[in-house]
């Protein structure tokens, strides 16, 4: 890349700018305001709103600064009577058919069109004709649409296409009748709502927040999303102790995701104020009896006594402590400290679906950030389905390919949607991901792997060739399909294949918002996994202290396990399959009510901030654990401050050494954990073990055909709406009045084809 510098003169001042810089950016970064609507960085240029006009010497007409690449010696004027007239003319045109109904528009107060008009003031309306009319409508349960306010900047259609690859929203009609619409009248998509976010006007609006509040009534709290391992930054808007909405608008928050969020981040927040939230601590005084509300003192006392009894009778190792990949690092750290220092047990773990421990132990290169993904040269994706499970990663991959020309290699048992962007798609037999890793790492196994994968050996060597031809960053991503040995082998590839010109970076695809943090803290390094703890329940394990709940996956086939325990203490938001057997239930605060940190799949340690006070009598998880420790006679000395907890955990967690809350305060400058790079290792044992297990794979297994539909994981009822921690309400239906949607997920999955049913319309349109 050339960083040659050239001279540009703007309004009489000279600036040295990088060759190839875009004029509008140069003007703005040097303090010369230029209005714009259609320009949106990192989306295809549109040049249609014509508000960014400037005068450039030697050019015949006013030019759109959003499309101009600076050249040496360019002389630019951004302010003059001529330019002002032109820009005012454009805004006047945009307002001609606009209903001017700001007082009843949800966007009022945070509308770019409104701001532009305020900025100039004194716009006299010359348009005295009848305005063109188009009725308000809903494009889906979560996307409300008032077409009259549209300025046709087409940011919405571009994010839908370029970010999401879904192309569900497009302009129809022609001329002044052009209208943003859908195919078939209904948004057939993942319902991410990014079109709402980027809309500069009140045309596309959050259908669940419609007419609920004015933006200036909301308190904005910058925090980290709680739904997947990408860790998007968002701003929760709350009023009077209620979370009203989640947005990523750049006027409030500027994190790794820009203005991107997925359906979960943007719309699935109503669980926070859900009426089924646990209100008080509860005690089940006798097995099989009812949970009876209790005071905190009673519940902690009860739990402490029972723990003491268990330890006295069966020893400390009979007590298991279970954290969660969904709660904060502070909460998990408190639990680990509790296990180590209060109980003295090695039986601790977190309820994740798979462990990244083998990967991190063999880590041959650092973790990629989402920015690295956007600008990668080559991306290898083994297993996983980021467009569904880590939607921001999915978007970054798509843009890396479409806007950045990256080469994507997809190795998957299904033709996942991202495969459409792939330079190479290797369609393998289900469950054979390990074989692909073995071949990628070691060409001696091409033939064996190809046979088991059901592909041609040349496909594997082509993929390896692409990786080895990379100049720049090559990012390796993998899902939960890999065995521990395959994780190690993959993690070591950089040692054999990096050069001066080629850097490897990893992007693991765990499922939960704090999967990486739970690993980093050391919680995944206990003597058990979640499933094996359940297996030992009633035998060597007599008591469990669980923050969050076991996943349906863990309980499958071991439904009785929890009932065999002498003691089960559960910290939860809702009643779940796990609390059904609990002797003590402690109401926990949700992510919106607590301070803390989550570590995302980039290894970025990002702040979680309380937007509202904890609901009812709930408390942050780490506080509950500290209180239980206190009851058992140990003072954690956290001084009621999450910051203090973090300080201690950062001191004791090598990768986090040196971090403090003040360092993490700015979401625009996220801080990455320093995961230790493992030296080159002899992997003969792993390779042999892999070879043996691959030998036993079925060579006749059928491949899975067809591309999974948009939203099949995002909306999966079993995952998102089962009574798993923090998602219960999604199964609970619609407890608010029928015209408000508590959970878009519910509304959408109820009708599996994502198509409008009459019922849904009635709900959405009323």
């Amino acid at each position: 890349m050339s960083s040659e510098s050239i001279k540009v003169t703007i309004n009489g001042s000279d600036y040295q700018v990088e060759k190839g810089a875009r004029l509008i950016d140069v003007c703005r970064s040097n303090g010369h305001a230029v209005p714009s609507f259609c320009y949106y960085s990192d989306l295809a240029l549109q040049a249609s709103c014509r508000t960014c006009l400037v005068r450039i010497e030697k050019m015949p007409k006013l030019q759109t600064s959003c499309t101009i690449t600076c050249t040496d010696g360019m002389i630019v004027t951004t302010e003059s009577d001529e330019i002002e007239k032109a820009r005012r003319g454009m805004v006047e045109f945009l307002l001609a058919n606009h209903p001017l109904d700001c007082p009843v528009c949800d966007r009022g107060g945070e509308c770019e069109l409104q701001e532009m008009v305020f900025d100039w003031g004194g716009l006299e309306e010359r348009f005295r004709e009848r305005k063109n009319y188009a009725p308000e409508k809903y494009l889906s349960p979560v996307v409300a649409n008032d077409p009259q306010r549209c300025i046709l900047c087409k940011r919405c259609t571009r994010v839908c296409d370029e970010w999401m690859g879904e192309d569900a929203i497009e302009a129809g009609g022609r001329g002044v009748n052009t209208v943003i619409g859908t195919y078939g009248g209904w948004l057939n998509c993942s319902q991410c709502g990014n079109c709402i976010e980027v809309c500069p006007t009140g045309t596309l609006l959050d259908g669940t927040y419609r007419h609920q509040a004015r933006p200036w009534e909301l308190e904005q709290t910058i925090t980290t999303c709680t739904f997947c391992s990408d860790g998007c930054q968002m701003s929760l808007g709350s009023r009077g102790g209620e979370v009203m909405r989640a947005v990523a608008r750049d006027r409030y928050v500027n994190g790794i995701n820009g203005e991107f969020l997925c359906i979960k981040g943007r719309f699935a927040h109503p669980f926070v104020n859900h009426e089924e939230r646990l209100r008080t601590p509860m005690i089940r005084y006798r097995k099989g009896g009812k949970l009876i509300p209790a005071t905190w003192d009673q519940a902690l006392e009860f739990a402490a006594n029972k723990l003491r009894e268990t330890a006295d009778a069966h020893g400390a190792e009979a007590i298991g402590v279970v954290g969660s990949p969904r709660i904060t690092n502070e909460a998990n750290y408190a639990l680990l400290k509790f296990a180590n220092e209060v109980v003295g047990t090695s039986n601790y773990t977190a309820t994740d679906r798979f462990s990244l421990a083998p990967f991190f132990e063999s880590l041959g290169a650092g973790l990629a950030t989402h920015r690295d993904i956007r600008f990668a040269k080559t991306i290898v994706l083994v297993g996983g389905e980021p467009e569904e499970l880590q939607p921001l990663t999915g978007k970054q991959i798509r843009q890396a390919v479409r806007n950045g020309g990256a080469k994507l290699i997809v190795i998957n048992s299904r033709a996942i949607r991202l495969q459409q962007q792939a330079a190479q798609f290797i369609h393998i037999r289900p469950g054979a991901e390990d074989a692909a890793v073995l071949a990628l790492a070691d060409e001696r196994f091409d033939e064996l792997a190809a046979k088991k994968l059901g592909v041609d050996a040349s496909e594997l060597s082509t993929a390896r060739g692409t990786v080895l031809d990379t100049e720049g960053n090559c990012i390796i991503m993998f899902g939960g399909e890999l065995s521990p040995a395959a994780q190690s082998l993959l993690a070591q590839i950089p040692h054999a294949a990096s050069t001066d010109k080629r850097r490897f970076l990893f992007h693991p695809l765990p499922l939960y918002n704090n999967s990486v943090g739970a690993h980093d803290i050391g919680l995944m390094g206990g003597a058990h996994t979640a499933s094996s703890l359940l297996g030992a329940a009633g035998a060597e394990i007599r008591a469990l202290y669980v923050a969050g709940s076991f996943l349906p996956d863990h309980l499958r086939g071991q439904e009785e396990a929890l009932s065999k325990l002498d003691l089960l203490i559960v910290q939860e938001l809702f009643e779940t399959e796990t609390t059904r057997y609990a002797d003590v239930v402690l109401p926990a605060a949700s992510f919106a009510e607590t301070d803390g940190t989550f570590t995302n799949n980039d290894g970025l340690v990002q702040r979680v901030r309380a937007s509202i006070p904890p609901a009812h009598q709930s408390k942050p998880d780490w506080m509950i654990t500290a209180a239980l420790a206190q009851t058992l006679g140990m003072d954690f000395n956290f001084q009621m401050s999450a910051s203090t907890v973090f300080r201690e955990l950062a001191e004791r967690t090598t990768a986090y050494n040196g971090m403090r809350y003040p360092l993490l305060k700015d979401e625009t400058k996220p801080v990455q954990a320093k995961h230790a790079i493992a030296p080159r290792r002899d992997l003969a044992d792993e390779i042999e073990a892999l070879r043996l297990s691959i030998e036993s794979l079925d060579e006749t297994a059928e491949k899975i055909m067809g591309t999974p539909p948009v939203g099949h994981e995002l909306f999966k009822p079993g995952e998102l709406t089962g009574k798993v921690p923090q998602f219960h309400l999604l199964a609970a239906g619609n407890p608010k009045p029928p015209d408000v949607l508590i959970s878009p997920l519910y509304q959408i999955t109820i009708d599996a084809g994502l198509r409008r049913t009459d019922e849904a319309v009635a709900v959405a349109g009323d």
């Binding site: 040049a47 014509r50 454009m90 004709e129 001329g175």
Partner: protein, 435 residues
């Protein structure tokens, strides 16, 4: 209706009046495909050089030098290259391309093949407006004949030159005559213009180097090759070589398609003698000489003014050659009404991509309609001009300018026609003031 040449030997119109003029046989007996044979014996660079020498300027409206445009195509690009014929001819007043294709389809095929040879292209598309479907049938029949005669396809005329020609119809949008919107439409996308640069010559159809030329531009090519660029240029003027077709319509006694040498002298003679004067012995009021998108000329700018009919001559006289759609209006025409009609056309055809054209044309039409209802305010003429000023030079593609120009020139040159329509309100106001 007259179809023929004046002031020169017919080139473009040499065969249109022959019997069976669409047949390959007639075309060949009249010198057809000789130019192709000659061109295939020349190097591509030499062909381009001849076209440059001919001073041929694009006949689609913009008048861009054709040889120069061909020269912009990167020779070393590994991508396929395309030649696209713009047969969208949607501009009100223009109907010359239609006659060329209807009566002499092989001339277009030959022109495209020569262009393809010059540009290293193996694929050509003829894009016509949806309403010209019957022309597609004529073109397709001619293509079958040409293919059977080994003029299209592999090993053309026994050489190594291979080229396919396909026809394609639009779906009825004026904007799809704009070359980049045409390419979008050809690719199956929404018909709206693309950002330039990159120009089609560098990144056009499917992002590959593409030359888009008007029908009449391409049909000029065989004669240029036959007679040589210099001889062709000499038929016209130094900067505008050759002959030009004018689609003459309106209040003249002999409308038609006229082939005139560039620089034809002069417009008054052309109207009054060649076109046999104004119908019903009325007086000439105005001429729109280059299709609806150019400035309107009042009779006073034509009569006795010796207006030369070429690019420079018309600019000097305050208008443009455009697509050569020559619309003549007699004294009975209300220029307010004719301008309103044109504005409605532009509003209807605005693609809606950019703010000024989309909103501006709608607003303009609303003002025109209000004035027509007798509700015009005295300041409306100024409002119309101001709206035009806010559109002109600020739109994404030239359609916005094309909508503004007729209004600007109409108000300037025919103020009485506007004043008459604004009179009721002026009088009403005066009456109130007098009370």
């Amino acid at each position: 209706m007259f179809i023929g040449a004046l002031g020169c030997e017919p080139l473009q119109l040499a065969r249109v009046n022959l019997e069976n003029s669409t047949s390959l046989d007639v075309y060949r007996r009249n010198g057809g495909y000789e130019a192709l044979r000659k061109a295939l014996g020349m190097s591509p660079d030499d062909v381009i050089a001849e076209v440059k020498k001919s001073a041929l300027r694009g006949r689609g409206g913009a008048g861009f030098p054709t040889g120069m445009k061909w020269g912009f195509v990167p020779k070393d690009s590994p991508k396929p290259k395309y030649v696209v014929c713009n047969a969208d001819e949607s501009e009100p007043g223009s109907f010359k391309d239609r006659y060329l294709m209807e009566r002499d389809p092989h001339m277009l095929i030959e022109g495209m093949l020569i262009a393809a040879h010059a540009l290293g292209s193996k694929t050509c598309y003829i894009y016509t407006r949806g309403e010209y479907r019957y022309l597609i049938e004529i073109m397709d029949r001619a293509l079958v004949e040409a293919r059977n005669a080994n003029l299209v396809g592999e090993k053309i005329l026994g050489t190594d030159f291979a080229c396919e020609v396909h026809t394609h119809t639009g779906a009825g949008a004026y904007i799809c005559g704009e070359e980049t919107a045409l390419l979008n439409s050809l690719e199956g996308l929404r018909g709206h213009p693309r950002m330039k640069p990159p120009f089609p010559a560098v990144a056009g159809l499917y992002s590959c180097p593409t030359v888009v030329n008007n029908v009449e531009t391409l049909t000029a090519v065989p004669d240029i090759i036959k007679m040589g660029g210099e001889a062709y240029q000499k038929l016209g003027t130094e900067k505008s070589g050759g002959t030009k077709l004018w689609s003459v319509s309106g209040h003249v006694n002999r409308p038609g398609v006229y082939e005139l040498p560039m620089g034809y002298d002069d417009m008054e003679k052309f109207i009054m003698e060649d076109c046999q004067g104004i119908t019903k012995n009325r007086k000439l009021k105005a001429v729109i000489p280059g299709g609806s998108s150019v400035y309107i000329m009042p009779a006073s700018d034509i009569l006795g003014k010796d207006v030369k009919m070429d690019y420079e001559g018309l600019v000097a006289a305050g208008s443009m050659v455009g697509s050569g759609g020559f619309i003549v209006m007699d004294e009975t025409v209300d220029i307010f009404e004719s301008t309103k009609n044109l504005t409605e056309f532009y509003k209807h055809e605005s693609c809606g991509w950019c703010t000024p054209c989309r909103e501006g044309t709608d607003w303009l039409v609303k003002v025109f309609k209000r004035i027509a209802k007798g509700e015009g305010q005295p300041e409306d003429a100024q409002l119309l001009l101001d709206l035009c000023d806010n559109i002109e030079g600020k739109s994404f593609c030239p359609l916005g300018d094309a909508a503004a120009w007729p209004i600007q020139s109409a108000i300037k040159k025919f103020p009485e026609d506007f004043k008459r329509h604004l009179a009721p309100m002026v009088e009403a106001r005066e009456a109130i003031a007098a009370d």
